[in-house]
């Protein structure tokens, strides 16, 4: 299975308004974010929904940039060295999707983390966020999974993910975050 096939299935029936595949340096992410914000501001979207979508896009992009920069890209042949970010929408939701290579150990860690996030309810995610923030503060370790936690909280839905083996050392990590557009969705009251 490749990221292309995952994205093909994941994007069926929705309008893709931003797509980038390849080099994901800091400036690429900034340009992408600016375009995403312009799109979110062109419609008559509820302010809270726009804020949630924007925050998810920020965290998703910064995760991809962080992992892209840290990889030994020479170890991958095309297309695995490329990260992919896609943003789409339909009448019900915005969708933020990313695909990027990760070491297998990192992939296993992400899988455990995401399963734990998906098992938590709203209150549980809040407590996990505060505990992770405190832990990061005390340890001096930056990041520490706060990005995934924040995306889960902004979404209010389960984070969809897949790990597809690239070779003996690496997996392709695919993440899909849904942001409901309805004003009366279950998370409208929390953010």
């Amino acid at each position: 299975m490749t990221d292309s096939i995952d994205l093909h299935h994941a994007t069926a029936g929705l309008t893709v308004f931003l797509f980038h595949r390849g080099d994901f340096r800091h400036q690429t992410a900034e340009d992408f974010l600016a375009q995403a914000e312009r799109h979110l501001n062109t419609g008559h979207e509820h302010a809270g929904v726009k804020r949630r979508a924007f925050k998810v896009i920020v965290e998703a992009l910064q995760n991809v940039v962080k992992h892209w920069r840290g990889r030994n890209l020479g170890a991958y042949g095309y297309p695995w060295k490329n990260a992919t970010v896609l943003i789409g929408q339909d009448n019900e939701r915005y969708y933020v999707m990313t695909a990027n290579p990760v070491p297998k150990a990192r992939g296993a860690h992400l899988s455990r983390k995401l399963n734990a996030l998906n098992a938590a309810d709203k209150a549980g995610l809040k407590e996990m966020y505060k505990a992770t923030l405190l832990s990061a503060h005390r340890s001096g370790h930056h990041g520490a999974g706060l990005g995934l936690l924040d995306m889960a909280r902004q979404s209010g839905e389960k984070l969809e993910f897949a790990l597809n083996s690239i070779d003996s050392e690496s997996d392709l990590f695919f993440l899909k975050v849904n942001i409901p557009r309805g004003r009366n969705n279950p998370i409208a009251s929390i953010c």
Partner: protein
């Protein structure tokens, strides 16, 4: 003590830490990819200020957005402020930014400083 004054950009907030005029404010967007690099000097400034601070310190956060990298640094700032006697945090948010209010409440639960929430 020298004033720390940084103009805001599209992805980094405006920062003004001015002991002489009693102005302590971080405002705007905080989305730096390398939050420790951006906020390190701010934390250092507060630690120095704590040695000989004003009688009262009203520290204002007026953030539109912040990323999770910034959230860790905001907690570092608040922790440093705990050592500044007479500190009060003013957490300001726009009336359609309920998530910012909730974020402020979460920070208030993590530190021992009085918070005042204000809508602008």
């Amino acid at each position: 003590m020298e004033t720390l004054n940084r103009q805001g950009t599209a992805n980094t907030p405006k920062v003004i830490l001015d002991k002489a005029n009693g102005i302590f404010e971080i405002s705007g967007r905080s989305l730096p990819e390398d939050a420790p690099a951006f906020y390190g000097p701010v934390v250092d400034w507060i630690k120095s200020y704590a040695v000989d601070s004003n009688d009262t310190t009203n520290f204002t956060f007026k953030l539109e957005y912040f990323n999770t990298g910034s959230s860790k640094m905001i907690l570092d700032i608040l922790t440093a402020l705990q050592k500044v006697a007479g500190t009060r945090v003013f957490w300001c948010f726009h009336d359609d930014e309920e998530d910012m209010e909730e974020a402020g409440q979460e920070f208030a639960e993590l530190v021992n400083i009085p918070f005042q929430f204000e809508v602008y």
